[in-house]
Amino acid sequence: MKIVVASGKGGTGKSTLSANFSYVISGNRDVVLVDCDVEEPNLHLFFEEKGKESIVTLPIPVIDENKCDFCGKCGEFCQYGAITVLKDQVMVLQNLCHSCGGCLIVCPNDAISEVPKTIGVLWDAQIDSNLRLITGVLNEGEANGIEIIKTVKRLSESSPLVIYDSSPGTACPVIETVEGADFCILVTESTPFGLHDLKLAAEVVKKIGVPSGVVINRSDGSDNETEEFCRENDLEILLKIPFDREIAAIQNRGELFSVYYPDWQKQFTDLLDHIESLCGGNR
């Protein structure tokens, strides 16, 4: 069972939900929690444990200038403008490279090879006997964290129950995270911003073909517009978490509110049971 927590709008409570949800259900199930928000990973802050670190690399072309005759074919082919061929020099703009390997194929002189370039790290931590946290971290200054998302997902693939915390937005990192999941929880808040971005996120998830449901966070009780959108689009509202200054403060300090409010343990256990039943008992 692979469940993604996504949102569209940032700061609606994805990490709050995935941390508390995973913590509670790890009470009697093995859970792997995966932080796919590699630009700004935050889950490790709640568990104060990074674990074993390993690096993530991407293959980047290097030019052997003894073999290169500066024909320019690599630069012409590269769709990303990552290679500029001058009269007697080839410049590779590493940040623009997508590591597709095309330049190696078009080079008539076999002058291009690839070397690994470190773009980030992953942390693999056993938080307690039932809960494992895998975090992807993009290095500051790197533009593209997709390879890191792929790596952390691969690492968790064989586990029976995985919760993925997505980055905000609706672009490539979100698509990479949602792909292959059994279910997607869309976390929103009852503001025009939250609703606007929920609509976009729901559209993406639908396009990818993953069933989804909605959690309204910081609900102030007047959620009519969100409820109406969900009704019209056959999106079930799975849970509402009310706005509460104390929950906000606990969260802001980097603690889990479900520890302070044991009532929530049943809510999160029920949420998992419900999602599993929606997915046809796919355990």
Binding site: E39, Q79, H98, G102, I105, G169, I175, E179, A201
Partner: protein, 289 residues
């Protein structure tokens, strides 16, 4: 034109709320751009009238001509993005996964793969009661957000380059959309919140901004929700030599204003007073008026 981007690192700290409020406070000649293209919200506050709509073509996407395909499978083998799959006796391209690299076209023995242009979104130039506004809509599920951000900025430079100030509502995170946003601006206003996540993400986005040599100002939004963390953020800013532009208290009027789709400074409340102070601070920094 002075260029200021409102960014945050962590999402949902209040970038758009602050940008919308500053928009309505500015007495100087001002233009706006929403560079959070995959979850654009500033239009909800500025109420724009669209004057010009341009299609946004991202990178091309591969397509396989089924009649010409000999089913050799070379394209699938070469694709590093797992975008080509074999199903029901045919190879096809998943446009969501295709990154447009065109490697699949290189060795196809029957020239069955072609790169097709695809509309990945729309770019708009609009009028608002505060000034001209460039914004965009990314087709949900499209990539190349960085490229679209660059296009939005290009459009506003072209149309409103004579204004005194360009205020950009930026994206969260530190990846390509953020890098495209920060490139070429004079300063960033980082809106953070008093949570350990907010502080952690603030430090990461500051590291990225330092590589661009832009001026950095910080605003702590909802600072009184956890003052211990708020103080840690102030300490960090002081150590890092970053100016604190202001602190905004938690205020229920903010949500109320957003629900009414109006800038919060149109109401009389503590958060509006704080943002007015921030605008005075920024005006001085930028020598406006």
């Amino acid at each position: 034109m002075k260029k200021l981007a409102v960014i945050s690192g962590k999402g949902g700290t209040g970038k758009t709320m602050v940008a919308g409020a500053l928009a309505s406070l500015a007495e100087c000649s001002i233009a706006f751009a929403d560079c959070d293209v995959d979850a654009a919200n500033l239009e909800l506050l500025l109420n724009p009238t669209v004057e010009l709509t341009k299609p946004y073509y991202g990178l091309k996407v591969a397509e396989i001509d089924q009649d010409a395909c000999t089913l050799c499978g070379l394209c699938e083998e070469l694709c590093r993005f797992d975008a080509i799959t074999f199903e029901d006796g045919r190879f096809s391209v998943n446009p969501i996964k295709c990154e447009g690299c065109a490697v699949c076209t290189l060795l196809c023995p029957s020239d069955a793969v072609v790169m097709k242009t695809r509309i990945n979104g729309e770019i708009y130039y609009s009028k608002t009661s505060f000034g001209p506004f460039a914004h965009a809509r990314l087709e949900p599920g499209s990539g190349t957000t960085g490229l679209l951000v660059t296009e939005v900025k290009k459009l506003i430079y072209e149309k409103a380059g004579d204004k005194e100030l360009l205020l950009i509502d930026g994206p969260p995170g530190i990846g390509c959309p953020l890098i495209a946003t920060v490139t070429g601006v004079d300063a960033v206003l980082i809106v953070t919140e008093p949570s350990i996540s907010g502080l952690h993400d603030l430090k990461r986005v500051v590291t990225v901004c330092n590589k661009f040599g832009v001026d950095i100002f910080v605003v702590i939004n909802k600072f009184d929700l956890e003052e211990t963390v708020s103080l840690k953020i102030e300490d960090y800013c002081q150590e890092a030599g970053i100016s604190l532009a202001g602190k905004i208290p938690f205020d229920k009027k903010v949500i109320e204003a957003i629900k009414n789709r109006e800038p919060v400074v149109s109401q009389k409340c503590p958060s509006a007073d704080a943002i007015k102070e921030i605008w005075i601070f920024l005006k001085k920094e930028f020598n406006l008026l």
